[in-house]
């Protein structure tokens, strides 16, 4: 105990000041405010004097769970995000491995693969909205009929479009991971008589675990939080099958002016994204500062 205090005193803690202050102003204060607002009956009638809004403890949370579509929206958000994340894995890995070896035009191919990822979500949403119209290109090409932007198929439309826009992230991280696999490891494996499949399975993939799982985590969190794409694609009010959490939160705030309720929903979604994040941090031991064992 004594020893620990001694080492602490030796540290120049004041150097935390700029960063600490920034964290306080940018993260801690707004977060505390958000938590407080989620306990208020804050709406269009009380926004002007918001500090004076009625304190209603956890009523907003009760209302969110009992009377709103929150639980349904969480279900939709998690289900589609998980599907998209799972879908990103084979696509991203395959593309990374396919563009690993040098060939003519590789730079171009690599750039083209990133296009969906760098396009703004608004552009992606508007474009796919046109493609998926009842008389749009998608129905014409696949000979299908009917709706993609409402009804049961809209859920799959969301999965497909989000997958299209999101998979290059996994590709990018996998490609970066591949670069770091030392050439000598490949040589050693080849000398031991490993074929391409064995090399991939026992040499390359284990080394990609770190970057790829980071990619999948970011992808999952990004999907759970994605607002623009579903908003542009389906509009508000959301069709029931694609009523995702961020859009629901938005509607409560900016269409229904139920700010307290909306913030309560936002707090719930914060907890939601914190869970996989905590699992990941635990797994890579970033939280202990000791690095993976």
């Amino acid at each position: 105990m004594n020893k620990r205090t001694a080492t602490r005193q030796g540290r120049p803690l004041w150097m935390f000041l700029p960063g600490g202050l920034l964290t306080l102003v940018v993260i801690a204060v707004p977060l505390a405010l958000a938590l407080y607002i989620s306990l208020l009956d804050l709406d269009q009638y009380s926004i002007r004097e918001w500090v004076g809004a009625e304190f209603i403890a956890f009523d907003n949370y009760v209302e969110a769970v009992r009377d709103s579509h929150l639980v349904h929206a969480i279900g939709i958000s998690i289900a589609y995000s998980a599907l998209v994340t799972i879908g990103c894995l084979p696509l991203g890995l395959a593309a990374a491995i396919a563009t690993q070896d040098r060939f003519k035009g590789r730079g171009l191919v690599r750039s083209v693969l990133l296009v969906p990822y760098v396009l703004p979500a608004f552009v992606v949403g508007s474009t796919w909205r046109i493609i998926l119209q009842p008389d749009g290109i998608a129905n014409r090409i696949f000979g299908t009929e009917g709706l993609w932007l409402n009804g049961p198929r809209s859920f799959w439309a969301l999965v497909i479009v989000q997958l299209w826009a999101g998979w290059p992230l996994v590709y990018l991280l996998a490609a970066a991971g591949l670069q770091s696999v030392d050439a000598t490891v490949h040589e050693a494996a080849a000398l031991d008589g490993a074929g391409p499949w064995a090399k991939l399975r026992y040499v390359v993939l284990p080394q990609l675990r770190g970057p790829v799982s980071l990619g999948l985590l970011i992808s999952f969190l990004h999907n759970v939080n994605s607002f623009t794409l579903p908003f542009v694609l389906f509009g508000v009010p959301s069709p029931y099958d694609v009523e995702v959490l961020p859009v629901l939160t938005y509607v409560e705030s900016f269409q229904n002016f139920e700010f307290g309720l909306s913030v309560a929903m936002a707090v719930v979604s914060l907890i939601l994204v914190a869970i996989p994040l905590a699992v990941y941090l635990r797994a890579v031991r970033l939280d202990t500062g000791r690095g993976p064992k």
């Binding site: 306080l24 102003v25 009638y45 926004i47 002007r48 119209q133 049961p152 002016f257």
Partner: protein, 443 residues
């Protein structure tokens, strides 16, 4: 530095920052206004962006001549942008002095209690309450003594129709009842041509139809703080509106995915005979389309579905009271100057020039009377006079959303060519609950 000092310093800094943000420097309007800048927030005009910039400069110059103060215009791109700006300004107590708001948003703005209620004296400063068309004052406040919105532009809804198609079918004029319109639409539907163009996926159009039909039936969706979304006439209105596509087959099936602009485009390509629920701004698009010169505007039907004449208690509303109101922020340090700006904007001269530039009708009585004689505008001016206001309640946005939601969730059935009675009843029940809760909260 030990930890306690560190915490104390951080807290002091944070508090200091907060206090600075709350600070304010009071100053009056009396005397010299040079150097004073007023800010006005307005929606960006995507149809006439350059003209709008020129108009800003013109207003600013004129205002400077009259008062010595300058006006700076800020624009918002969407209703959401606008709302965010209003929210932050209202909470912070600083921001634009004058706002131009959509009429249906005025009750919500009133509910925030952040805008100046106009007393007699204030009305005099904007040139008198009687300079405005009486109908345009319908949504300025809950009653005559509590008005915040000053009418600035009028955009009543009308119906465009294809003159050639109607003539070819031997129809001399559009019907004045919704049932009659449906029958005409059936008559006009043939290969490659539909009777009606409707934007079922629009975020706003659907509720306007339902509002109109139920108001005409004498059973408005909201009356005296009570919602009637689960009433028989509301259901009939939905059945009529959804039935055009599902059962009457007078609307292109693809319209389940259309927004208002796509409905206008379909009409512009000559694929539909009637285009209800458009404002005068559709003229810009239509005059460049294939139907240029072949279409005209008429008021929408005023006899509700299932009726052949206006029922007792029914209001022959041709449109919601639509357009822009301007409001002055309570926190503005230059209230009198702000009112002087509104006076300038609503003067006969400026209103006429605003109409000529942007196609939005004047709210100024004299300017509107002068325009009424133009036959091309007859239907639009008529609709402006026969518009009825949506209920003045802070809960209206929620009611509006609940009404639209019923259509959104009915689209899958609609696409399959049916209006499921049980499902519609269920949706209307939910909408009723949501709407009534919102109205109960209204203060």
């Amino acid at each position: 530095m030990d930890r306690r000092k560190f915490v104390a310093l951080t807290a002091a800094l944070a508090l200091g920052a907060a206090l600075t943000a709350c600070g304010n420097d009071e100053s009056g309007d009396a005397g010299d206004n040079s150097g004073v800048t007023l800010t006005m927030l307005m929606g960006v005009n995507n149809i006439y962006p350059e003209q709008q910039r020129a108009w800003f400069a013109e207003v600013s110059d004129k205002f400077k001549q009259e008062t010595g103060a300058t006006v700076r215009f800020e624009t918002f791109a969407s209703a959401n942008d606008e709302l965010t700006k209003i929210q932050t300004s209202v909470v912070a107590g600083q921001g634009p002095d004058v706002y131009a708001l959509g009429t249906t948003f005025t009750p919500t703005a009133y509910a925030t209690d952040a805008f100046v209620e106009l007393k007699d004296d204030d009305w005099n400063k904007v040139g008198g309450r009687d300079r405005f068309l009486p109908a345009t004052l319908g949504i300025s406040g809950p009653d005559k003594d509590h008005e915040v919105g000053i009418p600035f532009a009028s955009r009543p809804f009308v119906m465009a129709y294809n003159k050639d198609m109607l003539a070819a079918a031997g129809i001399d004029k559009p019907a004045d009842s919704w049932d009659g319109l449906r029958d005409q639409a059936k008559q006009l539907t043939k290969a490659g041509q539909y009777g009606l163009a409707i934007g079922y996926a629009d975020s706003f159009d659907p509720w306007k139809f339902i509002w109109a039909m139920t108001t005409q039936a004498g059973t408005p969706v909201v009356q005296d703080g009570k919602a009637a979304l689960d009433g028989a006439n509301t259901k009939l209105a939905y059945q009529t509106y959804l039935g055009w596509l599902a059962t009457d087959k007078v609307v292109d099936k693809a319209a389940v995915g259309w927004k208002n602009a796509q409905a206008i485009a379909a009409f512009g390509e000559g694929k539909a005979a009637f285009l209800p629920m458009v404002s005068a701004s559709s003229k810009v698009t239509l005059d460049k389309s294939k139907v240029a010169g072949k279409y005209a505007y008429a008021v929408m039907p005023t006899i509700p579905p299932g009726a052949t004449s206006l029922p007792s208690g029914g209001v022959a509303a041709t449109s919601i009271l639509s357009g822009d109101n301007v409001v002055v922020a309570k926190y503005s340090k230059h209230k009198d100057l702000a009112l002087a700006l509104v006076k300038l904007l609503t003067s006969e001269e400026m209103q006429t020039s605003y109409y000529k530039t942007f196609g939005e009708l004047p709210t100024n009585q004299a300017a509107a009377t002068a325009l009424g004689s133009d036959p091309a505008l007859a239907a639009i001016v008529e609709s402006a006079g026969k518009s009825a206001n949506t209920p003045f309640t802070g809960g209206w946005s929620q009611v509006q959303l609940a009404l639209t939601n019923v259509v959104v969730q009915s689209i899958p059935d609609l696409s399959a060519g049916r209006v499921d009675d049980a499902k519609l009843t269920g949706l209307l029940g939910q909408a009723q609950t949501t709407a009534q809760e919102a109205l109960d909260k209204a203060k």
